[in-house]
């Protein structure tokens, strides 16, 4: 957090990233000539060559992250948050339900008069722990380093579509919140990169981010 300003787009963060911009812009990747339809004189705004995101400023265009790699990263992140809360969650549930009446199998009865306080505390602790972990992992870390832990493993990162730089903690947390809202409200959010021209989910669109392969 208090590191020197080794931001995205600066050498030292990633030795392989040749970020100092070349003096000339990358040539516009028109479709190769001879494919029948000549390219229009000028592309409409918003158009970009398939397979690559042109990022704003002087950042070079980057290849999109594949949909499955994003799914994999999300599953890994979910697995990790599960691991983080596993111990307090399981112990808390055991403590809470050990005195329950299971004889009526239709529903679970808890003797609330004799609730195991430690069990409740552990469950609340598990909730807070999990929340903090997700906010840090999918919000702050994704914003400042471009990657949640899952994305680091998979090798993809989140950058601003207009800047090519990491989006920062604030936008990262907002992206995480919207991810959870959109994802829970409508699964279509996660399918959206499959048909979107910039491979964006809805939470990507709001914070103007794209997910690209880490070079």
């Amino acid at each position: 957090m208090t590191q020197p300003p080794v931001g995205p787009g600066q050498p030292g963060d990633d030795p392989s990233a040749s970020y100092p911009p070349p003096p000339s812009y990358p040539p516009p990747s028109y479709p190769p000539p001879g494919t029948g339809t000549p390219p229009p004189a000028s592309y409409p705004p918003g158009y970009h060559p398939p397979g690559q995101v042109p990022l704003g400023g002087t950042a070079p265009a980057r290849p999109y992250a594949g949909w499955w790699s994003r799914v994999g990263a999300a599953l890994l992140d979910g697995l990790m948050s599960l691991l983080v809360v596993l111990v307090p969650l399981v112990v808390g549930l055991i403590l809470l339900f050990q005195n329950s009446d299971w004889s009526d199998s239709e529903e679970i009865r808890i003797e609330w008069g004799a609730v195991n306080t430690v069990g409740v505390v552990l469950l609340v602790l598990a909730g807070i722990l999990g929340l903090c972990f997700v906010i840090w992992n999918k919000g702050i870390r994704t914003g400042t380093k471009g990657q949640s832990l899952g994305k680091s493993i998979v090798g993809i990162e989140v950058v601003g579509v207009d800047t090519g730089q990491y989006i920062g903690a604030g936008f990262g947390v907002l992206r995480m919140i919207l991810d959870s809202i959109f994802g829970n409200a409508c699964f279509l959010n996660y399918l959206w990169p499959l048909l979107d021209s910039k491979h964006q989910t809805w939470h990507d669109m709001v914070v103007k981010s794209v997910v690209v392969r880490k070079s």
């Binding site: 469950l123 936008f171 409508c186 279509l188 048909l195 709001v206």
Partner: protein
């Protein structure tokens, strides 16, 4: 442009609106067929189960079910936010389709970061107010 290329572009342009409509219709149908007024029919909300209090989303599924029956009053009393959301989405979708037909390539809804923070704030405030005495009429 040739006719086939045009119709191909037409199909591509309307793919997203069609998918959204399909998703919405599926959700409405599911909530109509399997009535969320029956407790546990769509599972239990862990927040309600643990605290006994309604969260901002509480009554949302019931509100949609009420809407499929045309009972707006019941829907509003279940969850105003969801009713407003459905209305906004419906209008936005229609505008989107009209604009797409006119050849405008734009997303259905465009909201910026600041707006979404505000909306998140509205949801949180709604969740708090409906748990307070003077906001009890907002609870489901």
């Amino acid at each position: 442009m040739t006719g086939t290329a045009e119709s191909l572009a037409f199909a591509t342009r309307f793919r997203a609106p069609a998918l959204v409509a399909l998703g919405g219709a599926a959700a409405f149908t599911a909530l109509r067929v399997r009535d969320p007024h029956i407790e546990g029919s769509w599972g239990l909300c862990p927040f309600l189960w643990l605290t006994g209090r309604p969260c901002p989303g509480c009554g949302g599924l019931r509100a949609v079910n009420d809407l499929t029956h045309g009972d707006v009053a019941a829907a509003v009393s279940s969850n105003v936010l969801v009713v407003v959301l459905v209305a906004v989405l419906a209008v936005a979708w229609i505008v989107w389709v009209v604009r797409t037909a006119r050849g405008v390539d734009a997303p259905m809804i465009r909201i910026g970061a600041r707006t979404s923070w505000v909306l998140v704030g509205v949801v949180v405030v709604f969740g708090v107010v409906r748990n307070l005495p003077f906001g009890a009429w907002l609870a489901p």
